[in-house]
């Protein structure tokens, strides 16, 4: 795994539907400056910058890192731009960590963002190319049949998704950065919201958000000098599977399972449910919580929904999931994966505020993208592994 590394600074912007008070430059700086302040560092202390975001068509700028370089203190430094579909926020953090693990850099600033209000993501996803299937109903239209299939296979009660949404929306009320904070949110309110893509209701889906997330990742030596507690990176893993392969199971993807196995092996985890204290996972539609609980081996196949149903994934449960309110409450697409990784880091740092899991020592950050085919994950801990 190379040199040890740790997260020593975390920053995120206020997430909102339209951050018209800032440009893209202002948005990424807001997150970067908060991460640097958290780390007690300035841009001059940073050796390299790794930036990630989802498709450039989401803002209408080709390779925007080129114009963001100055604002992120990148001038004269190495700068990398990662793009691995929806998992990109996680992959970006992993690339940043690998620069330190490789022994090439001491302190790396990593930033992920999306400013969806500057373009139109639905349009960007709907370009028809010759000989390729067009996505005509947005991501919800793509994923709804997979959820249907999950319900059929598992026999999960129809209201499982509503329960996930209720939990995440209640958690979001404890997170001052969350985009959707619906005071007094109730089961009935979610159940009564319009059905968008059966079985996904309006309040069971993620919003379109503007937002950025940043972290400073440092070597062991630099982490030991950090003013606030570091989150030690115990393991990282990425997996990709192809789009057109008849043997794929998009409900319980092989890439996700392989990624989790690799991650747990590297982190020395044999029983994920028992050894991981909390998880921030990529749930853009409510039902993906039980699906990923199985894919990540927190629950046996077909029984992920029981964790939601029994309250195991609630803030007071035995495996709290998406304490921040998750992607259901804020989805700046390119940044959503890094927010999961960063929230996991803040949990083990003891700096998660009102949505802190008491005594969290080991946490999982998870992101996925494409047609459930790109996965990136990390395990962070309060102590070095």
């Amino acid at each position: 795994m190379g040199e040890r590394c740790a997260v020593v600074g975390v920053g995120q912007t206020k997430l909102d539907a339209r951050r018209i008070d800032v440009s893209q430059v202002g948005l990424v700086r807001e997150a970067a400056l908060r991460a640097l302040e958290d780390a007690g560092l300035g841009f001059e202390d940073i050796d390299a910058v790794v930036i990630g975001k989802a498709p450039d068509l989401f803002e209408g700028v080709m390779m925007p890192e080129l114009f963001l370089a100055e604002a992120l203190g990148g001038a004269g430094k190495p700068m990398l731009r990662v793009h691995t579909a929806g998992s990109v926020g996680g992959s970006t953090a992993i690339v940043a960590a690998s620069l330190v693990e490789a022994g090439v850099h001491e302190r790396v600033l990593t930033v992920a963002y999306e400013k969806q209000s500057e373009s139109n993501a639905m349009w960007a996803l709907s370009i028809k190319r010759p000989f390729q299937q067009a996505v005509v109903a947005g991501a919800g239209g793509f994923f709804a049949p997979l959820i249907r299939s999950y319900i059929r296979r598992s026999g999960a009660p129809e209201d499982t998704g509503i329960r996930v949404a209720l939990k995440d929306r209640q958690n979001a009320l404890k997170n001052p950065y969350a985009h959707l904070r619906i005071e007094g949110i109730s089961f009935e309110q979610i159940a009564g919201s319009p059905m968008l893509w059966d079985p996904i209701r309006y309040l069971e889906t993620c919003p379109s958000s503007d937002g950025a997330c940043a972290m400073v990742i440092a070597s062991e030596g630099a982490a030991r000098r950090a003013p606030r507690p570091p989150a030690w990176v115990h393991a990282t893993a990425m997996r990709t599977e192809p789009t057109f392969f008849a043997g794929r199971d998009q409900v319980n993807p092989q890439a996700g399972m392989d990624c989790a196995r690799d991650l747990y092996r590297k982190a020395g985890i044999s029983d994920a449910r028992r050894e991981i204290d909390c998880a921030e996972i990529y749930v853009p539609f409510s039902w993906f919580e039980p699906m990923w609980m199985e894919n990540l081996f927190f629950a046996p196949k077909g029984e992920g929904w029981r964790m939601t149903y029994e309250g195991a994934t609630a803030l007071g449960g035995d495996l709290p999931v998406n304490m921040s309110g998750g992607v259901l409450s804020s989805n700046p697409i390119g940044a959503s994966g890094m927010l999961r990784f960063a929230e996991a880091a803040n949990q083990v740092r003891g700096l998660a505020g009102e949505h802190q899991v008491a005594g969290a020592r080991r946490a999982l950050g998870h992101a996925y993208g494409g047609g459930s085919q790109y996965f990136s994950m990390w395990i962070v801990g309060s102590e070095p592994r």
């Binding site: 795994m1 390779m63 990148g74 691995t84 620069l99 390729q132 893993a237 997996r239 599977e241």
Partner: protein, 351 residues
């Protein structure tokens, strides 16, 4: 640092328009060829990284399709940069340095013929104050060319000579798109596209793909008799706004070369990613290359410039020079952004 070598390099024939094959077809052919030539079995390749641009393909998530060319089943450890694939090679080199894998596949692809490239590249400019001006890639390069001509005291003839040499050398490169014998006088009689740049000063618009396999120490030595070692690699970026930097020099190239430990006196051949003739001059100055260094024996980007792969091709061509024995040490350079904003330098050496 672990020793890492280039094991193999493959590229498609470079064309103005690849009408018969999709990106997946193009990637599949170079990946197969590079893996077969690497001397190591595919299962030993622990990491894959690609470089491409959605704006070149004209579609969001364009790189996702390329995974279909990889035989990614069981699923693979894979990443992608929205950059020239030379940076994908850098990410792969980093991955090998962490020790999680010993060999990696890197590839890049671009079909610039899908759109109108100079105007597409306008969208690469800062969107609030620069892009609305509508200046295209050739216009931006012309500003830089003028700045360099004025500082250096050189002439448009010096630019044309770069084009003549490149396309003459390209006659030896079966993959090149533009090759042949041209006369400086005739080229200079042509009208300018954006003064002082004429058509011959600009890289052609190219469809193409390339792939490279790299591996660490023992794996590389086991793979074949002539590993080409990456002795140093680094990359740097400069500010974006043309008004806040001196366009006539390339500070980031000089810095990257220094960090990569390049000793210009020991370099025999340099493959420079200069899509415009004047940029070759700027790069030679930034790298302090002595007059005896052979520049772009492949013909360079002026003979074929597959966006998102052209930088990786430079590394592949430089490695081929070392492998064939034509050079003891070779330098490769990649760039992206307007006016050489971001630059990567690596140097290679035989056993």
């Amino acid at each position: 640092m672990r020793d890492v070598a280039v094991l193999s390099f493959a590229q498609t024939p470079m064309k103005r328009r690849e009408s018969g094959r999709s990106e997946v077809d193009m990637v599949m052919s170079v990946v197969r060829e590079a893996v077969a030539a690497s001397g190591i079995p595919r299962r030993e390749i622990g990491f894959t990284c690609s470089g491409s641009s959605d704006y070149i393909a004209g579609q969001a998530f364009a790189f996702v399709g390329a995974v279909d060319a990889l035989g990614a089943w069981p699923p693979i450890s894979e990443s992608h940069v929205e950059m020239d694939a030379a940076w994908a090679l850098y990410e792969a080199w980093i991955k090998i340095q962490t020790g999680v894998c010993d060999a990696a596949l890197c590839f890049g692809f671009g079909r610039a013929s899908m759109g109108t490239l100079p105007e597409t590249l306008t969208l690469q400019l800062e969107p609030y104050t620069l892009a609305p001006l509508g200046i295209d890639a050739i216009g931006m390069a012309a500003l830089q060319a003028r700045a360099w001509l004025e500082r250096s005291g050189r002439s448009e003839r010096d630019l044309a000579e770069v084009a003549v040499r490149s396309r003459r050398d390209a006659k030896q490169n079966p993959f090149a798109q533009l090759r042949g014998d041209f006369e400086v006088e005739k080229l200079l009689a042509e009208p300018t596209l954006a003064s002082p740049l004429r058509r011959h000063d600009c890289a052609p618009i190219t469809d193409g793909a390339a792939a490279i396999v790299i591996a660490a120490g023992d794996v590389a030595r086991r793979a074949g008799p002539r590993p080409v070692w990456i002795r140093g690699i680094d990359h740097r970026i400069e500010p974006h706004h043309p008004g806040v930097r001196d366009l006539a020099v390339s500070v980031s190239t000089a810095l990257a070369a220094k960090k990569a430990g390049v000793d210009p006196a020991r370099i025999d051949v340099a493959e420079l990613h200069a899509p415009f003739t004047h940029q070759e001059w700027i790069l030679r100055e930034a790298l302090a290359l002595p007059p005896g260094v052979r520049i772009n024996p492949s013909g360079g980007p002026l003979a074929a410039n597959p966006m998102m792969a052209a930088g990786l091709v430079r590394i592949g061509e430089a490695a081929a020079q070392v492998r064939s024995g034509a050079a003891r040490r070779a330098l490769a350079h990649a760039t992206q952004g307007h006016c050489l904003q971001q630059n990567l330098v690596c140097w290679l050496e035989g056993e």
